[in-house]
Symmetry: C2
Subunit: 254 residues, 2 copies
Amino acid sequence: MKYDPERLFLVSNDDGIFSPGIRNLAEVASQYGEVQIIAPDRQQSAVGHSITVMDPLRVARFEMSNSMVGHAVNGTPADCVKLAHDQLLDRQPTMILSGINHGSNAGINIIYSGTVSAATEGTVLGYPSIAVSCTDFQEDADLTGCREAVERIIEYVLKNGLPKGVTLNLNVPPGPLRGIRWTRQGDSRYVEQYQRRIDPHDRPYYWITGRFEVLDQGEDLDVNVLKQGLASVTPIQYDLTSYKVYEEVKNRQL
Amino acid sequence: MKYDPERLFLVSNDDGIFSPGIRNLAEVASQYGEVQIIAPDRQQSAVGHSITVMDPLRVARFEMSNSMVGHAVNGTPADCVKLAHDQLLDRQPTMILSGINHGSNAGINIIYSGTVSAATEGTVLGYPSIAVSCTDFQEDADLTGCREAVERIIEYVLKNGLPKGVTLNLNVPPGPLRGIRWTRQGDSRYVEQYQRRIDPHDRPYYWITGRFEVLDQGEDLDVNVLKQGLASVTPIQYDLTSYKVYEEVKNRQL
């Protein structure tokens, strides 16, 4: 699918504009059309769908190591997408891409993910949007397979579109691509423990620590597909209603 | 349903431990069992499901205006619930309550809500959890109806429990309670615009502004039930999979 200058891709992330992941994502997108990079000016992991309401936002021009130009915002991933949509882009984007995150966003962890929230915000604003993560959190991870998976998903979305209210959440193992599977979100999560320490003034403080626990059975779950070394793509939505429970309880007296 | 000292209610919020809303929620819960208040030490609106991973957390004892004692945490609503579960509570809570938020959490806005995220975190950790918001954002709003609605929902949950993975999101208009309806999450949202200003050094900055737009048809949607002056309770889930779309696409080649 060849380059079309009419297309505009907005690229954001949560690791910050200086991360190798966003550079790779922008390079892949630039094969298909114009790219605008608008991303947080610093690491914003685990910010979830946070937005900045009590402080003003600022925007700075940023030259990337591959000579692309981006804009760095002193806000969250969702802020970047909102501000891009309302103020910074001179036309409507064809698609919004978030990532490539350095680290997996699968299982329950996606509710904490800034990467996913930038893409979800794109969906809220009405644009086809994709979150991309590499399961290797090292900054020098081999993103070959990620780049190929992103190409395939961009081409899929350019061809088929995405239903209203639905975002794609793509996770890819490092190294060459061995295949992509459609998946459901698993129930795996970080099991957190806090480490209690005492500061030099004899006061306690707490550091979060955690280990990822795969709790799921089911071959169609994101976490298990990733364990097999395949890439996983999950259609997710921001309508959080539990329809199953709603149907069961809706006539119960309160 | 009388007081039972075996019950423990963890109460948190996103407006901060000093807010009238959390005091009211703690008072209602204290009719049913022991209450522990563990909440952010400051306003945390719109933080979404953010958690603190790059800084340590601290906890301070806080005497509330109704002579209850709470603990203030320098973190987000989700941090408070995680830390309470792992470090601060001496036994497992019966239920987790978040709120009473000063302002509605209905429609799409719940994805940005710190109030909802504290309750969702409780659900992730396996506790029956309820988020409560008053649709009036004034701090001196009449919470009579809120308090009564919380009583009814606490009694409902003590009697029926909640299915795994499901949180209740309760919104109540100010004033006396006129009834509670089971609802679905609507598609209404804040339509944001940024106001561009120039600072004294000639540099631009952007303030978020917005107006709430009711986009929904449907009598069973949270926003429309609230418009009728009734309280709304929506069962929500943290499994974000769009099952409808998943079923449609799962056999498509990628």
